[in-house]
Amino acid sequence: MSLLSKLEETLICLKAGRVTLPYPAQAQPLPEKFRGRPIFDATKCIGCAGCANNCPAREILVYDVCQEVRVLQYLGRRCTYCGRCADVCPEKAITMSLEFENATNQIGDLGQKLELFMSTCQRCGRCFKGAAALDELKMKGYRSDDLESERWVYRAHAFLEGEPAVADIEIELD
């Protein structure tokens, strides 16, 4: 009987009541394992480029600007928040955060850039991540030549600010 089914349908609606959530006025809780925007931790990252090699969207670039400074650049443009980078990172330096409301007019806002200090191995001459911050500070990447006043300048913290030391690499971003 069709009338009966109309009544049943009405009942389904009445029973459901109002279900719309007050989003975005009120934030909704997110599950623990939610895959939002990946966040890179410069203190943990050793610059191995495992994440870059495994990113399906090719969103991570790792390049050396000089012997001592390695840059990890996350572009954040095509990133699909798949979490492969976080899976493969040996140092757990990448966290899939709970951030998902990432709409922006400035696509560059989504990027992250780590400048990693790499020590030089005395045997092979290749760079590796130094053991402790204090040891690193003594080494070449942590000082710059202040030619004007003819002296070295030590940097006070673990990241280089401003322009990379050598700006001779051109990377095509798109």
Binding site: L4, K33, F34, P56, G83
Partner: protein, 558 residues
């Protein structure tokens, strides 16, 4: 040993025309046949042995064997066997007999082969361009290995309009699409109408081809592709994710650990639940019954939430890598999932009870968009469309994968072959899915989630995988290759076949039934075209010229 038996039979019948075969397991058969025999072997398989047509694949194999490959895939559902008929074409003579006279379902696949690889199907019944736009120069075939993935050939005329066929005598043309015919995706039907009656149509799709297969074959690597495959479709992404991974595993003879298989099964069924509820809602919306549209979506929402809890995202589960899965279903999640299923089951029962007797819906859907058994066979229709016509096929049972061989469930069929039957089939399948998931939750054994793969994957092996997507069988074909990526990866989405049945389904019915007829196959143009939709939103009213629209869609990000 059904595969061997089949091969012996071919040999006895066709003699030296059968060149060689590969029988990696009892559920796969690859027969290489002489080029002149392809047509006859396919006819024998499709007509006399009554196999189901699945897909045709072309591949540029020149760097490896100096030839082009053509494969026609068939499924022997009752024997649980997938069979591929392959032939090699010398690179200076790319002609092959078309099989469309016997197997009409191969029409699109052969046209695609010609567009993308330049393999000429001789004697094709309707050899019009399918994938490439009309302004694309002749003789440029993007899937060939010597064409880079981002090449725009010289002489490409993007302004050139499609050339449509002349409508039949006495018919008017009603354009349907390209924007949002039924669902929010682009495809264009030119309906030939006589009064209110549709007499025929011409289809034009593939408007924003994404070139996913090319990208995978030239840029990505084995474990990147699952995340790409997932984005073939916004509804059944997990299906393509699993299907691709299984095809590679099939080729490389890898068996994922049992726990991974159970998790794959659960996630696939979770996806089916959300898809069936979504489609039921949309079908009701199309016929103007928005109450049920809202309620279906409401009931569906907890499924999305639990998927998010398990996988980290409500729709893109990013589930598989080669040899396993990435997410576990812990005991806590199991309990939660069980609760979601219980609630869903009782709510859905109420909906099904109400709808089953609703005469308004029945009036709009009965005897509409009929696709009978004959059409199912000839056009290769799959999934609920086939089952609603009484054709008892379901890859989960017939070509078992993941953990489907360890669970009990019924394949739902109906007889009336119309939209109503499809609605009934899909509504009832929800209960079967719940049943499957409960069994998986009970049977799931502890163990690793991923296989440890120590060696490189073998090169040049072929793999097939059919996965029952909510809207029908999704079929993936892979040839493994060098550089940590497949040589060839071909995706045949369910809508690729089902859309080919639409012209016959809408013929001689009211134009007002067009939307629901098309909607009833649950068309996914993005899977079919493997293309992308562009959403244009604008607050103000303005008529956009084609030029402006093109500019707008092509404007680069700052």
């Amino acid at each position: 040993m059904i595969a061997r038996q089949m091969f012996e039979e071919f040999k006895a019948r066709f003699g030296p025309l059968i060149q060689r075969a590969d029988l990696p397991s009892d559920s796969r058969l690859y027969v290489f046949v002489d080029r002149s025999a392809v047509k006859y072997v396919c006819q024998h398989i499709f007509r006399e042995l009554d196999a189901r047509y699945v897909a045709s694949i072309g591949s540029d194999d020149r760097p490896f064997s100096g030839t082009f490959l053509v494969a026609h895939n068939f499924a022997f559902d009752k024997d649980h066997l997938l069979c591929s008929v392959l032939t090699q074409l010398p690179q200076d003579d790319l002609k092959i007999d078309s099989i469309t006279a016997m197997v009409p379902a191969a029409s699109w696949a052969e046209r695609e082969m010609r567009d993308l690889l330049g393999i000429e199907p001789v004697g094709h019944s309707y050899p019009k361009r399918l994938v490439l736009p009309d302004g694309w120069p002749e003789g440029k075939h993007p899937l060939r290995k010597d064409v880079p993935w981002n090449e725009v050939p010289e002489g490409y005329d993007e302004e050139r309009e499609f050339k449509f066929d002349e409508p039949p005598e006495g018919c008017m043309v009603v354009p349907f699409g390209p924007f949002h015919p039924t669902l929010d995706e682009p495809a264009h039907f030119r309906l030939y109408v006589e009064g209110e009656m549709v007499r025929g149509c011409e289809y034009r799709g593939f408007m924003v081809h994404r070139g996913i297969e090319k990208l995978a074959e030239s840029v990505m690597s084995y474990n990147d592709i699952p995340m790409l495959a997932e984005r073939i479709c916004g509804i059944c992404g997990c299906v393509h994710n699993v299907a691709y991974v299984q095809a590679v595993e099939d080729a490389a003879v890898l068996k994922p650990p049992p726990r991974a298989e159970y998790i794959r099964t659960i996630m696939l069924e979770l996806e089916r639940l959300h898809s069936h509820l979504l489609w039921t809602g949309l079908a009701c919306h199309i016929v103007g019954f928005d109450t049920l549209f809202m309620q279906s979506f409401r009931i569906r929402e907890p499924i999305m939430w639990i998927a998010e809890k398990i996988s980290g995202n409500r729709k893109t589960y990013a589930l598989c890598v080669i040899g396993g899965v990435r997410r576990d279903i812990t005991d806590e999640l199991k309990t939660e999932l069980r609760a979601v299923l219980d609630k869903l089951e009782s709510e859905w029962r109420a909906v099904v009870g109400a709808v089953s007797n609703d005469r308004n819906i029945q009036k709009r859907t009965r005897d509409v968009g009929v696709a009978d058994k004959l059409l199912v066979k000839s056009a290769g229709l799959v999934g609920p469309v086939a089952r609603a016509a009484g054709v008892d096929i379901d890859c989960r049972r017939d070509l078992p994968y993941a953990a489907y061989d360890r669970v009990d469930f019924d394949v739902i069929t109906a007889q009336s072959a119309d939209v109503w039957a499809r609605l009934v089939v899909r509504m009832k399948e929800v209960f079967e899915s719940i049943k499957i998931m409960r069994q998986c939750l009970d049977k799931m054994e502890d163990g690793p989630l991923q296989l440890e793969i120590k060696d490189e994957l073998p090169i040049g092996r072929m793999g097939l995988s059919s996965v029952e997507a909510p809207r029908g069988e999704a079929h993936h074909f892979v040839i493994t290759g060098e550089n940590n990526r497949p040589r060839r990866w071909r995706v045949r989405a369910p809508t690729y076949q089902n859309l080919q049945g639409v012209p016959a389904m809408i013929k001689d019915q009211q134009i007002a039934d067009m939307t629901i007829s098309l909607g009833s196959i649950d068309p996914c143009f993005s899977c079919t075209d493997r293309l992308e939709t562009i959403d244009l939103r604008s607050g103000e009213k303005k008529v956009w010229s084609q030029q402006e629209l093109l500019q707008m869609t092509r404007k680069k990000e700052p």
